[in-house]
Symmetry: C2
Subunit: 266 residues, 2 copies
Amino acid sequence: MLDVKPSASAVTQGAKPVGEAKILFMTPQSIKVACSNCNLRELCMPMGLSADELDRIDKMVGTRRRVRRGSALFSNGEKFTSLYAIRTGFFKTCVASEDGRDQVTGFQMAGEIIGLDGIVHDHHTCDAVALEDAEVCIMPFDLIEKLSREVSALQHHVHKIMSREIVREHGVMLLLGSMRAEERLAAFLLNLVQRLHARGFSQSEFVLRMTREEIGSYLGLKLETVSRTFSKFSEDGIVEVKQRHVRILNTDALRLIVNNNQLSGQ
Amino acid sequence: MLDVKPSASAVTQGAKPVGEAKILFMTPQSIKVACSNCNLRELCMPMGLSADELDRIDKMVGTRRRVRRGSALFSNGEKFTSLYAIRTGFFKTCVASEDGRDQVTGFQMAGEIIGLDGIVHDHHTCDAVALEDAEVCIMPFDLIEKLSREVSALQHHVHKIMSREIVREHGVMLLLGSMRAEERLAAFLLNLVQRLHARGFSQSEFVLRMTREEIGSYLGLKLETVSRTFSKFSEDGIVEVKQRHVRILNTDALRLIVNNNQLSGQ
DNA sequence: CGACACCTTGAAGAGGTTCAAGAAATGTGG
DNA sequence: CCACATTTCTTGAACCTCTTCAAGGTGTCG
């Protein structure tokens, strides 16, 4: 419901790098990388490119950058220069209001693109924080725009990425605007497991990279409510929860919770 | 907070057409129009274009379309072909879940662009419904992409429009995830009056084009709560409300309600 | 091993919803 | 132009969900 990632490829969870053998050359902090050989290509690149076009994209994606768990890839107010494709690791993005309110706007994993918020005002309007040690491909936006003018498949791909983010956020608005706590958590778990599954992980078992408080912020709930709802699902035999380790025992039950807005005729 | 429109131009509220004198030629349902002379240009077009570039954009924006109050410009599932620039009138966009839940994702007015949701899957994923008789400029998306490859200012403008929508939705998520009823309605009114003011209307007085139920859907509240909160603001002397006619008596009070998350230090 | 961050659970309370009834506006057809 | 039907809005009262506050448990890392 919230976000659909169509293609699947085998990607490791955790901080293990992907396609390490394909790296062309490396320096301590910034590492040259080739999209043409990246396992995540299906997730972040358009399909059906010629060898030449792929080569030019390789050159656009200049370097990689490592981000330590807990530190920010970019922060609110920072100058916008690039989009980032996540290679490994797990991020949250959050916005803050003037009075110090905080809202997690999304959780991002390998193959997903972050930084789109910065384009409008040439400055970022949210923080992107790594929830585990991570690595991203840096794609300078002026180069993206330049190459997009020459490679129409890339141009359309960029448009699709932005549109996908808009549609994803529509789903979050539906969740925040009309669902109750159990429905929200069920939708969240289904979305997470689906995205992980699309990356080659288990359909039923995974490790949460974020705290109850971060889940709560994303879902518009207090951390206690998240915890209680986990306990409820656990009592009902729908999931098994040990701290951050989650095993889904009954996916259909979760789907039912999301789709059973008790009003059936309205 | 939610959405900032920088430039102001004199635009009428209601269904009065704008820049009528500039129309080149017209047919009953589709009317040829020139962006180069449109009063709304500052809102929907990039700045600093050459005469030639403007001329090519004029050709891209083929025709206009009228949409009767209550009918849809496009609907969920429909094939995506074009983006639409609102010339006159007022729209809501809403998504629906499988089980029939409905969520208003935004209200759009003159100069704003709708249809971005359709790009990802080549089909629209929401409905755009006119809340009053409206008129839009049709911009076929393949032509936008073609021209974007040639005119980099247009390309960047399209990217900014999409990024702006993403940032706007971040603001809505913050509202839905962390604000209480009074805060939500205050933020909503401030946002609405700001956008209207940027179009040349009063800073304090306006007519709501949507029902209490639609406001409630957008804000994640029931229509009764919206009504009660209006009454509360009215009792407190902050606004004057007569059905859909609203006059803001104390803008600062509204700002205080939004920014006074009672926790001052956290 | 101790300090710290994170998670769970209970009890009381607040904010918003639900249900219901009536009032005000709007639209329709004679 | 008026009467009637329909939609929209307001308000009250009871209820429910989620929050708040509080305490204790669990896990992790230097």
